[in-house]
């Protein structure tokens, strides 16, 4: 299409977006959903398969208890009702990513339904309704070959690896979210972020979007104020938090340009492109998808009894939002300060650094200062910067012990980020330790006093502030490897002045 896109601000002033999110989470169980094959990521093709997940005749599935528990825990954390009785269903379709020609899923009887998740956007709480949380099995991976691009279009054949087929997959579907206006993209991102944090706190998944253990489809529609909701599109292949935001934004702009030109939005699946940030239509279907769901005859119904659910509920961990509020209190931060910690993605890092013995203020200083700056420069997530909370705590320990001053510590930290080793190793290897040998320092101080008689006189006459100049001189002489306060005290002492 050659139409120019209208300006975002102008579009959201005229149209009201409605969003909805469908998230798939691979559970971190040891084994697959219906068989005992291992689930770990990677591995040679077709090495984690058995008659059940290959759909061989005569094999029978048996549901994984840990996966059921994890799903109930997710439902409880999302304030859902847990079904007292529900069934799995067969979703029938012919596609080689499932060797059985159907996927075991849930249809009209999800394990969990009707909940919500509160997310914070610009300090405001937005309640996202949760329609359902259900359990299904993941599909195999198809590799399209023979075409020039390696994509499905132009491919002549597909190669299938069933290692992933049958891994427990939880689908979490929101209710439509209207009324967020211009903030719709941010709300979508905040929801997926919060959901990821909830799932991580539950320990049910490693929630790594880049490895596909957390995958997101984004529904978007536009309507004029006072009118019915518009036709929605479903954008797939949204595989990072940033992309969630970009996908909603780009789809709002695209739909607005279609509507402005008097066109109509087609209900379709679209694909998000990480590189360009826009969406393109998927294959259009002439007829509505007909999966002919029916209750899975090979699996008996699930009936989680009240005691079991109550037990799981009692064992839920503190959820991220409450946890963050508690940390904010413990760290004595204002809402604004806490927000900058959140925006930097530093909550867990600071928490772990504090747990390793550093004060909250010092931990925050390093993560939001040097390390955030470095992360921004290199365009990586703070958590992947290359310095661990334990190393930051070690660094601060060296400062507290008087072995490093602030300036030297920054140099050491750069070394840590560059993978040179632990702070202590770098300090020792590069000879960065503060000169604490008083004999050597005294000699340097005396030298500085002798070289700067005018300044020395000033200090003797009571202008203590002038000591700064001598501190600078000694620092220079010791290549910065002295502690400023120790130096200052020593200078005053040598000049016979009270500090």
């Amino acid at each position: 299409m050659t139409t120019t896109l209208p300006a975002y601000d102008e579009v959201v002033a005229r149209y009201e977006p409605v969003i909805g999110l469908e998230t798939h989470v691979e559970l971190g169980t040891n084994t697959k959903m219906f068989c005992g094959c291992p689930t770990d990521f990677g591995g040679e093709p077709n090495t984690r398969v058995c008659p059940v997940c290959l759909g061989l005749p005569g094999s029978l599935p048996v549901a994984n208890k840990a996966a059921i528990e994890a799903t109930i825990r997710i439902g409880l954390a999302l304030n859902c009702s847990i079904a007292q009785w529900c069934r799995f269903a067969r979703k029938n379709y012919f596609y080689p990513d499932m060797p059985k020609d159907f996927q075991i899923s849930q249809y009209d009887e999800p394990l969990c339904s009707d909940g919500y998740l509160d997310v914070e956007v610009n300090g405001e709480l937005v309640r996202i309704g949760i329609e359902r949380v259900h359990l299904e099995e993941d599909t195999g991976k198809t590799l399209h070959v023979g075409g020039a691009t390696g994509r499905i279009h132009g491919a002549t054949e597909s190669l299938v690896d069933y290692n992933r087929a049958g891994i427990p997959l939880v689908e979490i579907v929101t209710k439509p979210v209207p009324g967020t206006g211009a903030l719709a993209p941010e709300v979508a991102k905040a929801y997926v972020t919060e959901l990821r944090d909830v799932l991580r706190s539950l320990g049910v998944s490693d929630v790594r979007m880049e490895e596909g253990s957390l995958r997101c489809d984004v529904n978007t529609s536009l309507n004029l104020p006072g009118e019915e909701w518009g036709t929605r599109t479903e954008t797939k292949n949204v595989n990072s938090l940033r992309s969630v935001e970009r996908a909603v934004r780009s789809e709002i702009l695209r739909q607005a340009s279609v509507l402005d030109a008097g066109g109509r939005i087609t209900q379709e699946t679209r694909h998000f492109h990480e590189d360009t940030g826009d969406t393109t239509p998927g294959r259009s279907k002439e007829t509505a998808t007909d999966y002919r769901y029916f209750p899975e005859p090979d699996l008996v119904p699930l009936a989680p009894d009240t005691a079991w659910v109550a037990e799981l509920k009692a064992a839920l961990p503190e959820l991220p939002r409450l946890h963050r509020r508690r940390l904010q209190e413990q760290w004595g931060l204002s809402d604004l300060d806490m927000q900058s910690v959140l925006n930097a993605g530093a909550v867990e890092l600071i928490e772990a650094t504090v747990a390793a013995g550093t004060t909250p203020a010092a931990a925050r200083k390093w993560w939001l200062g040097e390390l955030s700056r470095r992360a921004n420069e290199t365009g990586v997530e703070l958590a992947d910067i290359g310095a661990t909370p334990a190393q930051v705590a070690e660094l601060q320990g060296l400062i507290d012990a008087g072995k490093l001053n602030d300036k030297l510590a920054r140099t050491v930290l750069e070394g840590v980020v560059d993978g040179e080793g632990s702070p202590t190793e770098i300090m020792t290897n590069r000879g960065l330790e503060v000169v604490s040998d008083t004999g050597a320092l005294t000699a340097a101080v005396d030298e500085a006093i002798a070289a700067n008689p005018a300044i020395a006189d000033k200090i003797r006459s009571g202008k203590v502030a002038a000591a700064g100049a001598l501190v600078g001189a000694v620092m220079k002489a010791t290549r910065g490897q002295a502690d400023a306060k120790t130096l200052r005290d020593l200078i005053l002492e040598r000049l016979g002045v009270q500090g």
Partner: protein, 101 residues
């Protein structure tokens, strides 16, 4: 009034990847109609106090512990495949179906 139309049978055949001729459509539509009419008789005796039944045994919560059990070697897994490449099942490309997930 037939319980299933010829169009519905054609639709089902397409979904099931069955190449059904025009003649067969007539035959199957007729046969399926008889079957559906017979099954529909069950509905006539349905009582309000009997819940719909999807499983013949009154069991719930048949679950297994999350413990790894050895499966098949890739050679065994691929032994029944019509075609194999790069230790994967090799299949014709399929473009006209959406991927479910």
């Amino acid at each position: 009034m037939a319980a299933i139309s010829r169009e519905e049978v054609a639709h089902l055949a397409r979904l099931s990847r069955l190449a059904v001729t025009e003649e067969e459509l007539d035959t199957f539509a007729g046969q399926l109609d008889v079957i559906l009419q017979s099954v529909a008789q069950v509905g006539e005796v349905t009582a309000a106090d009997i819940p719909p039944t999807s499983h013949s045994v009154p069991l719930t919560n048949v679950l297994r512990d999350d413990v790894v059990v050895p499966g098949l070697t890739p050679q065994e897994a691929l032994s029944g495949a019509p075609d194999v490449a790069e230790q994967r099942f090799r299949v014709p490309r399929i473009l006209d179906e959406d991927v479910a997930s």
